[in-house]
C-alpha cells in the first residue's frame, strides 16, 4: 500500500499481513547491530583526509572555468595549508609549552573589578562601560561597542596575549580575528592572542562562555581551561569552567569537539569525543569526564538573556543569578537549597523583579540589604 520508508521506524508494522517478524524483534536486531563496534577514523586521520580532498578539489577548480566566490574560499585554505605544513614541527613543540603563559595571564587579571576590562598585549587597558559590551577584532583596529581603538602599537606584539575580563554582573561578546564569536558570561576571563599563529588557534578560559568557532580545518581551535582542553574544528558549544566550581562542563550544540581531560596527569590525560546534544562534566576531584545527552537549551540560554532551569536545585540557580547580577544571595537553610526549581527566568529583569518572581514560585521569602539578598523559609503564619 504505502511504499514510504516506514521500514526505517523501529515500530514499523513491516507488513504484518505477511508472516514477517514482529516489530519488537526487528527493533532488537537493530539495537544489536548498532551496538557493534565500528572502526573510526582518528581525528588526525579525518583531518588529513579532508585536507587531501580539499587540496584536490582546489586544483580541479583552478583548472576549470569555475571562478566564483567558492574558489576564493579554497584559495585561502590552500594558502594557509601550505604555510601550516612548513611550520608543522615548530607547532608540535610549541603546543605543549604554550599553555602556561595564557593561564598566567588569566590569573593576573582579577574579575573583582567594577567594569569590563580589555587588557591589550602592549599593556594598554581599556575599560568598557555598560552591562553588555561587544568587542570585534578587525584587521587594523578593535571595535568596542561604537568606538574603535588601534589594534596594536608595536608590531613585536603581533601574537601577544590579550585578556578580556568580564566581572560579575556584566556580559560581553567578542569576535576574534578569525571570525570566531564568543559570548562571555559574568565573572569570566578570556585570554587570546592579538592574532592567531599559523596552524592553531588557542584561547584560555576561566568562567563560562559560548563559542561559535569559525570553520578552519587547517587551524584547529583549542580552548584551554584549568584542567580540560577542548579541540575544535568548527562548531558551537558552551563551556563552564569557573575556578570556584568543582566541576567543569562543556555542552555541544553543533559539530564535533574533543576533550582532553586530566591534562596535568603524568600519563598525558584522556581524550574523549563529543557529539551534538551532549554535555560533558569533568569532575576535578575524581578526575573523570562523563558525557550524557542533555537538552542543550538549558545550558546555553544565558547567552540570549534567559535562564532555563529544569528541576535544578535552588542553590545552583542562586549561584548563577548571583554571578549574573553581582549580588550576594544567601540561603540560610541548606535544605532549602536542595529544593528544585523549574522555569524560565528573563535575565533582562532587574534583580528586584527577579527575586520577587523566584520567591513567588518557591517557598522562600527574602530581605535585602545593600548588595545582598537573604532568603529563608516562608513564614506561613504571615500569609
Amino acid at each position: 500500500m504505502k511504499d514510504e520508508d516506514h521500514d526505517r521506524l523501529p515500530n514499523d508494522g513491516d507488513n504484518p499481513d505477511q508472516s514477517g517478524p514482529d516489530s519488537k524483534t526487528l527493533h532488537n536486531a537493530r539495537l544489536f547491530f548498532k551496538s557493534l563496534p565500528q572502526e573510526k577514523l582518528t581525528v588526525a586521520e579525518k583531518d588529513q583526509l579532508w585536507n587531501r580532498i580539499v587540496g584536490y578539489v582546489h586544483i580541479e577548480d583552478d583548472s576549470s572555468e569555475r571562478r566564483s566566490v567558492r574558489t576564493i574560499f579554497w584559495y585561502r585554505i590552500a594558502a594557509v595549508l601550505a604555510i601550516f605544513l612548513s611550520v608543522g614541527i615548530g607547532y608540535r613543540v610549541l603546543k605543549y609549552t604554550a599553555g602556561n603563559p595564557m593561564k598566567q595571564a588569566a590569573e593576573i587579571a582579577s574579575v573583582e573589578s567594577s567594569e569590563t576590562k580589555l587588557m591589550l598585549a602592549d599593556s594598554r587597558t581599556i575599560n568598557l562601560k555598560g552591562e553588555n559590551s561587544d568587542v570585534v577584532y578587525q584587521h587594523e583596529v578593535i571595535r568596542i561597542d561604537s568606538s574603535t581603538v588601534e589594534k596594536n602599537v608595536s608590531p613585536a606584539q603581533k601574537y601577544g596575549l590579550n585578556t578580556l575580563v568580564v566581572p560579575y554582573g556584566k556580559r560581553s561578546t567578542i569576535t576574534l580575528t578569525d571570525g570566531t564569536k564568543i559570548w562571555l558570561n559574568s565573572g569570566s576571563r578570556l585570554v587570546y592572542p592579538s592574532e592567531f599563529e599559523k596552524g592553531k588557534r588557542e584561547v584560555y578560559l576561566d568562567g563560562q562562555a559560548y563559542f561559535s568557532v569559525a570553520h578552519d580545518i587547517t587551524r584547529p581551535f583549542y580552548v584551554q581551561t584549568s584542567s580540560m582542553d577542548i579541540k575544535v574544528l568548527g562548531t558551537e558549544f558552551d563551556i563552564s569552567a569557573y575556578g570556584d566550581d568543582k566541576k567543569i562542563s562543556a555542552v555541544l550544540t553543533k559539530g564535533s569537539i574533543e576533550l582532553l581531560t586530566a591534562k596535568d596527569s603524568f600519563w598525558g590525560g584522556e581524550k574523549s569525543r563529543m557529539v551534538p546534544g551532549t554535555r560533558a562534566v569533568y569532575d576535578g576531584v575524581s578526575k573523570r569526564a562523563q558525557i550524557a545527552k542533555v537538552n542543550v537549551d538549558q545550558y546555553i540560554s544565558w547567552k540570549d538573556g534567559y535562564l532555563i532551569a529544569n528541576r535544578e536545585p535552588l542553590y545552583e540557580v542562586f549561584k548563577k543569578l548571583s554571578r549574573y547580577y553581582n549580588y550576594d544571595m544567601v540561603l540560610n537553610d541548606k535544605e532549602l537549597g536542595m529544593e528544585t526549581f523549574s522555569g524560565t527566568l528573563d535575565l533582562q529583569d532587574d534583580i528586584d523583579q527577579m527575586v520577587i518572581v523566584l520567591t513567588d514560585a518557591t517557598s522562600l521569602q527574602y530581605h535585602k540589604s545593600e548588595r545582598r539578598f537573604i532568603f529563608e523559609k516562608k513564614d506561613t503564619a504571615s500569609e
Binding site: G20, P21, F32, S35, W74
Partner: protein, 195 residues
C-alpha cells in the same frame, strides 16, 4: 544522533554549491563510510583512498546530483562501487583472486574493547549472538548489516545486492526468525547500557 539539519537539507545545500555543506557532509559521513569499507576489506589505506575519490566525485558532479535521494543509501552505493573497482585494481597488482562479494562483512564481533559492558557474563551472551550471526552465509550477513546498521529499506538493499525485493525480504525474515530467542535476551542487556 541529534542534528540541526536533516541529511536531505544538507544534501540540497551541497548540491546547490555550498562549500560549508560539503565540509559538513564529510564530517557527518566520513566515519560511517570508513566503518562500512572496513567490513569489506582490512586495507585501511585503500578505504581512505576510496573515501577521497568519492568526495572528489561528489564535488565534481555536484551540479548534476539528484536532489531527492536517501543520502546514506546514495553514498553507500557509490562507495561500494568505488571499493569494488579499487579492489579489482589491487588484485591485478597482487595477482590475487580477490572478489569483493566473497569477503563481505566478515568479523561481526563483540570485542573486549566494548568496555561499557563490564559484566563478563553479559558480554559473553552478546558474543554468542555475534557468533550466531557470523555463521550466516556472507550475503545474508551483508543484508542484515545494511538493514540494521544503515537502516536501508528492502528496495535499496535489493538494488545494492542485485537481488529481487522479495528475496531480500525473505532473507531478513528467515535470519531474524532463527536469531529471535537470542535477540530477546541481548536486547535487554543492550537497553540497560544504552540508557
Amino acid at each position: 544522533m541529534v542534528l540541526n539539519e536533516s541529511d536531505i537539507e544538507l544534501w540540497e545545500l551541497f548540491a546547490s554549491g555550498s562549500q560549508a555543506a560539503f565540509s559538513r557532509l564529510y564530517d557527518r559521513y566520513a566515519d560511517m563510510l570508513y566503518a562500512f569499507g572496513l567490513r569489506y576489506t582490512s586495507d585501511k589505506e585503500m578505504v581512505k583512498d576510496c573515501i577521497h575519490d568519492l568526495f572528489i566525485d561528489l564535488h565534481h558532479y555536484r551540479d548534476g546530483l539528484a536532489r531527492e535521494v536517501n543520502v546514506r543509501y546514495y553514498l553507500l552505493k557509490s562507495f561500494k562501487r568505488k571499493l569494488h573497482t579499487a579492489s579489482k585494481k589491487a588484485a591485478i597488482f597482487s595477482l590475487n583472486e580477490w572478489d569483493l562479494d566473497d569477503k563481505v562483512v566478515s568479523g561481526i564481533s563483540f570485542s573486549a574493547e566494548q568496555e561499557i559492558i563490564s559484566d563478563e557474563r553479559q558480554r559473553e551472551m552478546l558474543q554468542t549472538l555475534a557468533q550466531e550471526i557470523n555463521k550466516l552465509p556472507e550475503r545474508q550477513k551483508e543484508i542484515l548489516y545494511l538493514k540494521f546498521t544503515h537502516n536501508l529499506d528492502y528496495e535499496e538493499i535489493a538494488s545494492m545486492m542485485q537481488i529481487s525485493v522479495p528475496t531480500c525480504r525473505t532473507f531478513v525474515y528467515r535470519a531474524i526468525k532463527e536469531l529471535r530467542g537470542k535477540l530477546e535476551v541481548s536486547a535487554i542487556l543492550l537497553i540497560l547500557w544504552a540508557c
